[in-house]
């Protein structure tokens, strides 16, 4: 972070991609007092700025939004803190992050939602807490959605502990619908996945690891969509969708005008269960890496609009939770600092998905999912959250040099194309590539 606050910042010479505003052209942008002051064709900005950012050859985009990360506070600050996690977010180009409530204790009260957002936490990007849908995420008694929403919660979920009971899920969607609060579900029928540590596949059989069936995801997504249909205004968001069948259910739901949205992670569009070689626990996460056919379905759904957002499911863990037997290791990998590079390398360069589409999946897409008003686009008077990246820059990722407190990533040492150059939150540069 810069020492003194910048009053005015002129970003010039860059190529602006703002899908929500339908802009994909060379533009200069003037930021002033934390707001977007002016957007104009190159060299047409009228106002002045004491600071200038030369974005020649770079893409300038609305600040990226991550709908799904684990900041580990309160309770597990040995894995990550709000300060370190948001630093990692800034390094990955994210100006806003939505953090999951599966902390210790769970973020299930307005007090904790408020605590998450206090300046003392040291966040360097915008933090939007997602609250627990049930008390202590035990799946039994609903939390006070209205009070949580007033305190700043942007959605409710029992992420990691899916709501299995039809009755509780129905209530969650019903009360959510009354106050237009999205419900996020980690779709996994945990009754069918006990003791499982990867996807059910030839690889799981060969490695002697119990496998999660793809149907354990799809069955919950199908059930949730059925329930969401029953309440006018109910909003269901499917977290980290990973299987062809679940994506098909979402596609069908959207066609039937159900308010259902979904996200996918970079690891699910990059890797498959065949990559779980040598029992490396940095390839262990939940939902697990799926089959090649599921990955193809994810790539198809990214291109055809079924998927609303790319979300990282950034899940930091300490070494002692990962450098152990695969079956005993914690689920989850970090992801904030590699998301854009994976998207450019594997979606744009390999699959010819346009940069505009990728930017949409990081900006207006997620902003729409959780109604993060004013975020995800650059409008005059709106928040001065900007992400600047070089889509051609080649670099090698070294996890130990990252900002996250943990480095449980399968991508350590990977070569990428595309790199974040600067991240600007409220007009202040919070990350700048060295």
């Amino acid at each position: 972070m810069s020492q003194r606050r910048i009053q005015g910042l002129l970003i010039r010479g860059g190529h602006l991609i703002d899908p929500a505003a339908d802009i994909d052209a060379p533009m200069d942008i003037l930021l002033r007092d934390g707001r977007v002051a002016e957007i104009s064709a190159p060299n047409q900005i009228r106002g002045s700025a004491e600071e200038k950012f030369d974005a020649k050859g770079l893409i300038v985009a609305p600040g990226f939004i991550d709908l799904h990360i684990h900041l580990r506070e309160p309770g597990q600050s040995y894995k990550e803190t709000i300060a370190t996690g948001t630093s990692a977010a800034a390094a990955g180009g994210f100006t806003s992050v939505c953090c999951m409530p599966n902390t210790h204790p769970a973020v299930d009260s307005p007090e904790w939602v408020t605590w998450m957002q206090q300046p003392d936490r040291g966040a360097v990007v915008n933090v939007f807490p997602i609250a627990a849908a049930t008390q202590a995420s035990k799946g039994a008694v609903l939390t006070d959605f209205r009070a949580l929403q007033r305190a700043g919660a942007v959605a409710v979920t029992d992420d990691g502990k899916p709501i299995l009971s039809d009755a509780i899920m129905r209530d969650t969607l019903r009360v959510g619908a009354e106050i237009n609060l999205p419900v996020i579900q980690h779709a996994e029928d945990t009754r069918a996945t006990e003791g499982c540590s990867m996807n059910e596949s030839p690889t799981s059989f060969r490695l002697g690891l119990r496998g999660m069936a793809a149907s354990a995801e799809a069955s919950i997504v199908e059930r949730d969509i059925r329930l969401a249909q029953q309440f006018n205004g109910a909003r269901l968001h499917v977290a980290h969708t990973s299987t062809a069948a679940a994506l098909e259910a979402v596609r069908l739901g959207k066609r039937n005008k159900v308010r259902v949205t979904c996200e996918v992670t970079p690891h699910h569009f990059t890797l498959t269960d065949a990559d779980v070689r040598n029992y490396n626990a940095n390839f262990k996460m939940n939902p697990p890496l799926r089959s090649a056919a599921d990955r193809e379905a994810v790539l198809r759904a990214l291109a055809d609009g079924t998927i609303d957002a790319i979300a990282t499911d950034h899940a930091p863990h300490a070494l002692h939770e990962k450098m152990i037997e695969f079956e005993e290791a914690a689920f989850g990998i970090t992801g904030l600092e590699t998301a854009l590079s994976l998207a450019i390398t594997h979606l744009h360069r390999e699959r010819k998905i346009s940069l505009a589409k990728i930017v949409e999946l990081f900006t207006s897409g997620p902003a729409r999912v959780l109604d993060l008003n004013g975020r995800g686009t650059l409008a005059c008077g709106g928040p001065a959250d900007v992400t600047i990246f070089d889509p051609r820059k080649k670099w090698t990722y070294q996890a130990c040099k990252g900002q996250s407190k943990s480095y449980n990533t399968p991508f350590d040492g990977w070569q990428f194309t595309g790199k974040i150059v600067a991240t600007i939150v409220g007009g202040q540069i919070v990350h700048r590539a060295g």
């Binding site: 059989f205 060969r206 040598n278 450098m323 079956e327 480095y407």
Partner: protein
């Protein structure tokens, strides 16, 4: 001596596995396997040369074992090695020591080779990736039990000329069986024709992806018909709990009985990796019938494991 660079330095990827390690059959070349058989044929536990004199063999057992543990121990001692047995109960493992820390500790006290049995698949590989001494997998979770597959194939070759074209039927709980996975890898490398038989709970369709040409049968009579080798696997009663098949059903449909065994070739071998549960996966009569080589398998475990240890410590000449 420093074993590798410790967890922090080596966290990114596993180091090279030390030569002589035996982690699984899947990654072995056929030539390596026949080499071990040749070596095993020269091993006589009663008058062995002390090839491993002064060597320390650490037996690290996180799970119960009778056959594997005693035969590795006798194999090592027959070759003149010192053995130390560490059980998870009564060691620092009970105090929460991690697998890698136990591995570094055993290396530090002077182990030349570690033989490990563990309830988690991949545990021996994790150790081997962080040690500079060979690690021998004595059974890891549902993954592999390579020394068992080697002694089984060795036993078959005492009775049959070749594994190629041999019709081998494996009956029982294949899903949970590391013995089955190792046996399938080994036999398919040598061109045996393998049929797997069991209820879907114990034999998911996925099993056929383990090796090319695997046949799956749900009817024991059909599977055994004309077989040269019938390998019966142990069934744990508790694994039937919660499935659609009752213990009584299992016995009725899959238990190896004399009438069923007679459907196999006249000189077919009846094998079982042990421990056998008479009255469950096989009858008393089958266990003791003339075709049964169950006891011989155990006996052959000693020279085969002598060969494994000799090779691990580079004393196979």
């Amino acid at each position: 001596m420093n074993s590798g660079s410790g967890p922090r330095g080596s966290r990114r990827q596993m180091n090279k596995v030390a030569r002589g390690s035996l982690l699984g059959i899947e990654g072995m070349a056929a030539g390596e396997i026949t080499g071990l058989f040749k070596l095993a044929r020269r091993m006589n536990p009663l008058k062995a040369r002390p090839l491993l004199r002064g060597k320390r063999v650490l037996l690290l057992f996180y799970e119960a074992s009778t056959r594997t543990r005693s035969s590795f121990e006798i194999a090592a001692q027959s070759l003149g090695a010192m053995t130390t047995l560490i059980l998870s109960s009564g060691s620092s493992i009970e105090k929460g020591e991690s697998l890698l820390d136990t591995a570094y500790t055993l290396r530090a006290v002077g182990a030349d080779v570690i033989v490990v049995r563990h309830p988690n698949a991949g545990a021996p590989l994790l150790m081997a990736g962080h040690l500079d001494i060979p690690v021998i997998n004595a059974g890891d979770g549902m993954h592999e039990h390579p020394s068992q597959a080697l002694l089984d194939a060795y036993t078959i070759l005492r009775h049959k000329k070749t594994l190629k074209g041999l019709r081998v039927t494996i009956v029982g709980d294949i899903y949970h069986s590391r013995v089955a996975r190792s046996a399938i890898h080994l036999l398919s490398k040598f061109g045996s024709r393998i049929t797997l038989c069991g209820p879907v709970e114990f034999l998911p369709a996925l099993a056929s992806t383990l090796a090319p040409g695997l046949q799956i049968s749900r009817t024991v009579e059909e599977a055994v018909d004309g077989a040269d080798v019938v390998m019966v696997l142990r069934v744990q009663k508790e694994r039937l709990a919660g499935t659609r098949i009752s213990l009584e059903d299992y016995v009725a449909r899959y238990q190896m009985t004399m009438p069923r065994l007679r459907l196999a070739g006249r000189d077919a071998l009846l094998m079982h990796p042990g421990p056998i549960i008479r009255g469950l996966e096989l009858t008393w009569e089958v266990a003791d019938c003339p075709q049964s080589v169950i006891v011989e398998e155990v006996r052959n475990g000693v020279p085969v494991r002598m060969a494994i240890l000799a090779k691990a410590l580079g004393r196979s000449a």
